[in-house]
Symmetry: C2
């Protein structure tokens, strides 16, 4: 069971799909590879796991080379990929994470690194394309049944601003009216007390809101087949 320990070990990498809503689009942070394999293809930020660190420490360390990690408003593990040929050079597992950055942040990024609209992804290295699409599905689900919107929105926002963020992330239209009612009913947002000045064309000043809680909370536990009331 343990004749040759080295032969059984395997490189392990961490990767992150970091999303931010920019220009009313859901965008993902990618860097362009300079060398083979997949030279010139775009890739998710990440790198190999160091001895003694956890996966989360690892991905935070690698992300620090691309963005100020203090800007990360959310980070959670997705899946671990293990197809033997996912990396043509050597056997390597990769654990993917989902990271989110608030829309009002504008972190500096290195010159080889750019934001790309998820709707128009460039040619991607390795298995990074399915990882990004899976991350988007996770985000879309959690926006519906949790308070994860706090990780996309600025500290205070108007409801039309929030609707624009949800529209970009969910990929479909929705009304500020109904979004307000769903989030208020669930006590996910609350009025911030101030108002926003109208634009140059006038209009009623908008109320500002904040998320009541900046820790991930599931709000829709058992949507159905829920326990009896007593």
């Amino acid at each position: 069971m343990v004749s040759d320990q080295q032969a059984k070990t395997c490189a392990h990498a961490t990767l992150a799909t970091v999303f931010q809503v920019r220009d009313n689009q859901l965008q993902v942070l990618l860097w362009q590879r300079a060398r083979a394999p997949h030279a010139h293809a775009w890739a998710l930020p990440g790198g190999s796991l160091d001895q003694g660190e956890t996966l989360e420490q690892s991905i935070r360390r690698h992300l620090a080379a691309k963005v100020d990690v203090r800007e990360l408003s959310h980070l959670e593990q997705l899946e671990t990929r293990s197809e033997p040929n996912r990396n043509p050079r050597h056997w390597e597992l990769a654990t993917a994470y989902l990271g989110l950055i608030r829309a009002d942040a504008d972190p500096a990024v290195p010159s080889d690194t750019r934001w790309h609209a998820v709707e128009e992804l460039p040619a991607l290295a390795f298995d990074h394309q399915p990882i990004i699409l899976g991350a988007r599905e996770r985000l879309r689900g959690k926006l519906s049944y949790s308070n994860l919107g706090f990780a996309l929105a600025p500290a205070t926002f108007t409801l039309s601003e929030l609707r624009d963020l949800y529209r970009a992330a969910l990929g479909h239209d929705l009304t500020a009216t109904n979004l307000q009612r769903v989030l208020l009913r669930r006590h996910l947002i609350q009025p911030a007390g101030s108002r926003r000045q109208p634009g140059r064309n006038g209009g009623r000043p908008a109320q500002t809101f904040t998320y009541t809680n900046h820790i991930l909370t599931i709000t829709d536990h058992f949507a159905t087949l829920r326990p009896p009331t007593q």
Copy 2:
């Protein structure tokens, strides 16, 4: 980035939380460790990843030592654990899987292996207790928003049998009446055409049902914040 490849590699194990509803309880398959670390504690089945295999191949191979893997009606990846001290002997990551076995199967298991009610877990090795509880949460969620019940139920069943399975897995009571309507409305189950003979105390013969689809299907995609109708 690649000075000493060996120093950066790390052992990798796979584990599975295999559930089956037995005696109206949700039970998990555990084996009792004979040797340190954690001698005599109970542990999830699994073992180390072999060169060139995928994580899923690995867990299927290790499970084969405990149960007939043809009995596995469902297998999906959960999370990858990486706390450096999760194994006191050496640095080892572990990727956990959720496995399900239908209630009508009765697989033979080795002498060191037993089924344990999740409500009354024995002392567990490593970080296996939180893994089991996390697996149960995943199961409970998917029973609510997908057709995953097919992996717990026999090929054909009556509605009170199915209610007993759901009750054991969800951990709360529910009525066969409403369970039937939810699952029929969603077209997850359909009448199988036959009837079950009543017991010795009489009673109306029960209709039998089958799951319409034995592939995991999400039925409750966007419970809320769903796209406009047109």
